[in-house]
């Protein structure tokens, strides 16, 4: 079956611009996660959705970052006033229910480059 998909696969923008990154989770998965991976590092947690609501947004670095999941399926990560330090791979993952000790399945990521 189809896995997690993310669009665009690559995004180049200029400092100060606004960007939106999209994630399509595995069909039927109610839990959705965003992570950010900088060069040479492992993924770092940003936010977790259970259905339509953000159950944990403790990983968002500042108020320039915002994410939504209005219908409990597709999610959009929004970054305002981008900075060069935002350049990274943004990974989305989903899991069936968000239950305890549940595996998360990752998409291919969006590579964001802020010039």
């Amino acid at each position: 079956g189809a896995g997690v998909s993310q669009t665009p696969s690559n995004k180049v923008t200029e400092k100060g611009k606004y960007v939106e990154l999209r994630c399509d989770p595995i069909s039927g998965h109610t839990a959705l996660y965003w992570y950010r991976q900088s060069l040479g590092q492992g993924p770092e947690f940003l936010i977790y959705f259970q259905g339509t609501g953000a159950a944990d947004d403790s990983g968002l670095p500042n108020d320039r970052f915002f994410a939504v999941r209005p219908e409990g399926s597709v999610s959009t990560l929004k970054i305002q006033r981008t900075e060069r330090g935002d350049s990274a791979v943004y990974l989305c993952a989903s899991s069936p229910t968000g239950a305890y000790q549940e595996t998360q399945y990752f998409g291919p990521g969006t590579r964001l480059l802020v010039l």
């Binding site: 997690v4 839990a31 996660y33 992570y35 040479g40 590092q41 492992g42 993924p43 770092e44 947690f45 977790y48 159950a55 944990d56 403790s58 990983g59 990974l91 993952a93 968000g98 305890y100 000790q101 595996t103 998360q104 399945y105 990752f106 998409g107 291919p108 990521g109």
Partner: protein
Amino acid sequence: DQQVKQNSPSLSVQEGRISILNCDYTNSMFDYFLWYKKYPAEGPTFLISISSIKDKNEDGRFTVFLNKSAKHLSLHIVPSQPGDSAVYFCAASPFHKFYFGSGTKLNVKP
């Protein structure tokens, strides 16, 4: 403050031999541990997991060992194959938030 550490950035192994990848963690609240494999330009792919109530989990050529007292886990791949060449990340969680190590790049030589 890195709570999950992979201290070996790279590992080179001959085909057919055993690969051992190591991971250390600091948070005693972690009770679920996973290994992911990542090829260039792809997202991490789930490989194997272990709950803290176990000390070993095996799936084909892959075995994960957990030593809770030492806060250490390892992934054994036997026998190693050239297709296993990738970056391996360990992850740990107390619930929904996964904490990842920085990865070990495994190169299996034919």
